[in-house]
Structures are given as C-alpha cells and as structure tokens.
Symmetry: C2
Subunit: 229 residues, 2 copies
DNA sequence: CCCTGAAAATTACCGGAGGTAACTTCGACC
DNA sequence: GGTCGAAGTTACCTCCGGTAATTTTCAGGG
C-alpha cells in the first residue's frame, strides 16, 4: 500500500557517527530486499527453527528487515498465516497428486489424500502449528475455512459426489468436506503432540474412519499396505 | 476463614447503576464474593453477552471483582477456558443422555451424540467460540485434547469398540475418538459462521459421515424421520 | 550545481491484554 | 489499643501487534 507522502524535510542533521546497526533511511544499493516470496521463505525458516509461536518482530528480524517492511510485504499476521497456509496446501496437493493419480479405487484415493496430509504435516511440524494455531483469536475460524476451501474441499466434494450427490442434497458434500478437514486437523494435532502410534498406523486408522465410518463395513480394504513414504 | 456461616448469595451481577467504585481494602461485609462457581457463572454471562473475545478484565468486571480476584479464583485464561469447556461438556452429556439411552441402534446413539453436540453449541454460541478459539495460542492443542478426553472419547470409544476392537488394535478407538471430535468441532464452527443449512440437516449429514463414512453404505438409515423442512 | 520531492528504510511510539507486585483497608486476636 | 493477617483494589510491568514519525538516499528539474 502506498504510504502517505511525508512532507518532512530534514531540518536537523544527525551526527555522522553510526557504527553498528544499519542506519535508517533509504539504502545505498537502491534495490530493496522486500520481495514477498523472500519474506515468506524467511518467515517459514524462522517458524520452522524457532517454533510456531514466533513473533512478527522475530520473523522480520529473521528476514533481515524490520517490521514495517514485513507488514508492507505480507500484511498483518492473519495474512501471513493465510499465505503460509496456502503454501502448505500446495505441498499437500503436490504430495498427494502422484499417489492420487495412481490409485485405482476411490478408497485408495482417499488414503493417498490422508497420507499426503499427514506426511506434509509431519515434515512441516512447526509451520503447521503456526498455521493452525497461530492466527489471531478472532479470525481463526475464517483461517481454517480458507484452508479447507483451498485444500480438500474439491477432492472431498468429488468423493462425496460419488455416492451422495444423487440421493441427497449437494450440501452434503460441503458438510462432509469440512468434516474431513476437521478430522484431519484434529487427529494430526493430537498425533503431533503425543505420537503413540506410527504415521502409517495413523493413516490407516484415519482412512478407515473417513471411508467406512464408525459403524460401517463398506469394502474390505487391502489390509494395510504400507511403504508409502 | 469467615466467622459467621452466613451463606451470602447476593446478586453479584453488574447492574446498570454505577456502583461507585469500591474502595480498596478488605470489604466491610466480611464475606468475600470470590466464589469460584460464581466467578465462572459471571464469566459465562459476560462471554455470552459480549462475545467470545472477552478480555480477562471485562470478565472480572462483569463478575463485580477485579482481575486479581478472578485470577486467584480460577487461574489464568487457559484455566478459565478449561473450566468452561468442562461446563460445556457436561451440558453436552446431559443433553445427549436421555436420547442416548432411548436409542435402540448404535447409529441412533451416534446421532443423539451429534445432535446434542450441535444443539448445545447452538444455544451456547459465544461460549463455544470462547472455548474453542479463546485460549492462548500455545496451548490450544492441549485444551482441545482435554475437551475431547472429557467429552466424546468414552462414547466414541465404546462405539468404535463395537466393530473394531477385535480385529484392530485398541489405538483405533483413540484415533477415532479424536477424529469424531475434530469433525464435530470443525463442522460446527463452519456452521456457526455461515449457516446455510438447518441444524437438522447438519445433524443428518454429520451423522451420516461419521457413521457410514464417505464411501460406505452400511445401513439404510431411516431417511430423516424428523420434519426437515 | 544545488535544491526539492519521492522512495525506502529504521526507530519510536501507541494501545491493549495478560499477569502480578505493591498498597490499602478491615477484622480479629492478644 | 496495637499488631497481624485477610481480602481487594490500584498501579505497574512485559510483551506483542501494528503504525506513525523520522531519517537517509536517489532522481530530476531550475
């Protein structure tokens, strides 16, 4: 956003003794370092190393800039959460796409989605925690909705249509989409906190729940094929 | 310790009349007003009326006390969230118990649980938002876990055991419990935000998803026996 | 060639919220 | 009556998100 034009011209000249920190004012190189993607990358690095409760100042400092630059580049904290959430969603989609296309049955496709979600979360632990629990308290719901919309809503909607579109209203698909995301998010958070089972087992259990339900015995699944990596 | 055993249950709710700021020091009445249950009730009132982003100072002021009393009575904000979460859990259990006992099939029991959850959430909207999104950012996972442990884990574990305890590890039940809670929580938050369907429809959809899964056709359910508009 | 205005950054500040120490007042007991 | 503990309020601290004010440099015209 264009800042208000400052009319202030310097009336008092400061002393030319500036040793350590970078002096204020326009840098001499001319070119800025405030590229948005670089800021996001630096934010991710800071969050991944220093934990999910990184302050905006720490993120800016990790990016080599100061807060106003960070705010000008990516907006406020919620915007940062949204941007990193989209980044995670992209990774989940990327991770699941190959197995997703290779899968034959719809259940296998579902499993690939679950596996990709958990895999990406596992390898981006802090970033995931930042995205799911790092936003402002008021708009957390909106964040999660956005995340859900961009991630699994299409896929789960497709899955849901396979059986329910004809005999129920299409609202089922939407509800189910959010249900799927809720299960994935909650289960993953629990698993990140105290992992008492392996990732493979988790994928199995979640897939079974999501596909067959608590009471259902829909299709005899192929008995835990592992080695997904 | 109070000498007189007078059970003073005066109305501590903040009145519109300006109470002329109580002077510091020990009150003259002798008995304190810092009962924990009263503080919690006042907190609930403030949250229900003023929204889920109530500050600790607002809650204390609504209770007729100041912040240190509130902190001495219920602990910090996370403790308050935990206490109110347990309160909500109790209400959910109470609301579901009667229908739960009356239900014949396991699926009907599941539906009663879902219906109770959504019903309680609907009538305690702000309180629910406070509990689910109001805690500190770092311990939100722990809060949700606690909530899950005390609420639906027993029931869902029982449900899960009905079919899976024999042929899979008991860890399935635990995973499924968190999955159920995740679905309920997320779907409910979405529905609270923009309710595009009725509560009855939501209960139907969620029950169908949780019981039969995305791909399952387990049991032909009784086709929405209630008047679903 | 200087001077002025725009651009780009840093520093300084503000406001609010959680949480706690310090102070004040009242009751009770010696 | 004096002193000590109990009960509460006020004032304060710290941290953090977010923004305004300031400082410096670059670009271009008189």
């Amino acid at each position: 956003m264009p800042t208000a034009p400052t009319k202030q011209t310097a009336a008092t000249v400061a002393e030319p003794t500036r040793p350590a920190r970078r002096r204020p004012g326009r840098p001499q190189g001319g070119r800025a370092i405030a590229d948005r993607s670089q800021l996001l990358a630096a934010a991710e690095l800071v969050i991944s190393t220093n934990g999910p409760d990184a302050t905006m100042e720490a993120i800016a400092s990790g990016a080599g800039v100061t807060k106003p630059i960070l705010y000008r580049g990516v907006g406020d904290r919620d915007a940062l959460v949204a941007a990193l959430a989209e980044l995670l969603v992209d990774r989940i989609n990327t991770a699941s796409s190959v197995a997703y296309r290779r899968a034959r049955t719809p259940r296998a496709r579902m499993r690939s989605l679950v596996a990709a979600y958990i895999e990406v979360v596992e390898s981006n632990r802090n970033l995931y925690l930042f995205v799911t629990a790092g936003g402002s308290n008021v708009d957390r719901v909106g964040q999660a909705m956005h995340l859900a919309d961009r991630s699994a809503v299409p896929i789960s909607a497709e899955l849901a249509k396979q059986r329910a579109a004809t005999k129920q209203s299409p609202a089922v698909a939407l509800t189910w989409s959010y249900g799927l995301i809720g299960t994935l998010q909650f289960v993953t958070l629990w698993w990140l906190r105290d992992a008492t089972i392996t990732a493979d087992q988790l994928v199995d259990h979640v897939t079974e729940l999501l596909w067959s339900g608590v009471g259902g015995t829909s299709s005899p699944r192929p008995a835990s094929r592992k080695a997904v990596t």
